[in-house]
Amino acid sequence: MTEYAPHLDTNTIVNFGLLAMLLAVLVAIVRTRSLLAAVLLMGIYSLISAVWFVVLDAADVAFTEAVVGAGVSTAFLLGAILLTRTESLTKRWQDMVMPGLVCVGAGVLLFYAALDLPLFGDPSAPANAHVGRFYIEETKNDVGVPNIVTAVLASYRGFDTLGETIVVFAGGIGVALMLGFGERSMGDLPPALRSPVMEALAESDHHVVLRSVAKLLIPIIALYAFYVQFHGEVGAGGGFQAGVIFAVAVILHALIFGLADTMDAIPPELARAFAALGVLLYSGVGVINMINGGNFLDYDHLFPLAFEAGLPGSHLSGGYHHWGQHFGIIIIELGVLFTVAATMIAMFYAFAGRAADVVGEGARG
């Protein structure tokens, strides 16, 4: 095998340009005192890193970064700022010595570790030579879906994805335990804390254009979520991204038409139920495989073997369709969609339902 030599091409130059931008944004985030500006810059940071993932040819990761980092996390961070203040406190320099030392130490360690990493794009790197090659060569025989990322995510590493889904679910429960599922904050909050001045202001301004465009866009965004969901087997995308996109559609509705209207359309109870239903669906598929004599999440046993062999084009009768794998992936992606979308919606309800407790802070830019 010939030695891999890094070389300067378009890809590398674009990479360096984007990394320089990332660094600049990072410095700006650290330096700004205004938390609102920091949230905005975090959104830009996510945008740039997602573009960087695109340039590195990691389309699925870029998709996730785009919808999560630039989309919902901005809304969540704004909701979090609602509960605190809008300026960060200035610290004495004595208080910053120890954290500074820890940061510098960790940074030096990371740089030291980075020296051992294989070069970018090195074909003999462990990730490319062993497990990556196995996935690329065997996906066609084992799973039979065109998008290898989906095959790895949903089939080879189904356990990991189940864990991630449960993490999202647990995160939603954690937020709900602290802030409520939304209905508590909306209902019981005394009117004094609902900043009626701001609400009256929002209603008196003219937002005809915004409302008309939002009315047009919300169904399109929701439709696009389902495109991403069902296209995930073939192209970039999947249940996680689709769930977040659907939640973004609901968030847009809440932003324009008010949280009360959105809660009429999608009650918090529904979001709660669907969050649990998703996890149930996912682990239920695993249990069905066990009942049919396979391992947990081994989709080859999703249907009884005799039934699968009778299906048209089945790999058991010489075809190339792995029907168990196809249906298993579709169902667990649906479970991921339910959990992610419902959890994001419930979390947004929880954050946005709380009005600005510090009414006096008012609308200072």
Partner: protein, 128 residues
């Protein structure tokens, strides 16, 4: 026939390049103009213009295919969202008390001529 396809490709690339240059010009405007509203007009006009030039140019290169359709969908979304966002932004800034700079000012220094009374609210838009 191949000749025609070649020139269509070249035309598409030229349109994409024109879009890129237009967006640089717009960004220069956003950087140089003196107040929010002039910056807004520089950004919003060149954004939609650059998106039109670039996405249509790429669609020409893609020919009659699924990619061209996706490019047109992306273009439609940009045309729908970008002006709306600009409008909402201008609306919010105006009603929160940001005043445009009026009267003569020097473009080079970005400052207004001293003869004018200072009515620009500047950085902070107070509560109305």
């Amino acid at each position: 026939m191949a000749d025609v396809l070649f020139w269509i490709d070249q035309l598409g690339m030229a349109l994409a390049l024109a879009g890129g240059i237009l967006s640089v010009i717009g960004s220069l405007g956003v950087l140089r103009f003196p107040d929010l509203y002039t910056r807004l007009h520089a950004a919003s006009i060149t954004d939609t213009g650059a998106a039109t030039l670039m996405l249509f140019g790429l669609a020409l290169m893609a020919g009659f295919s699924q990619e061209a359709l996706k490019l047109l969908i992306a273009w439609a979304f940009v045309m729908l969202t970008s002006p709306t966002a600009s409008h909402a932004l201008a609306n919010a800034a105006w009603s929160s008390g940001q005043k445009p700079k009026l009267g003569a000012f020097s473009l080079m220094s970005g400052k207004r001529e001293p003869a004018e009374a200072d009515t620009a609210s500047g950085e902070k838009g107070g509560a109305p």
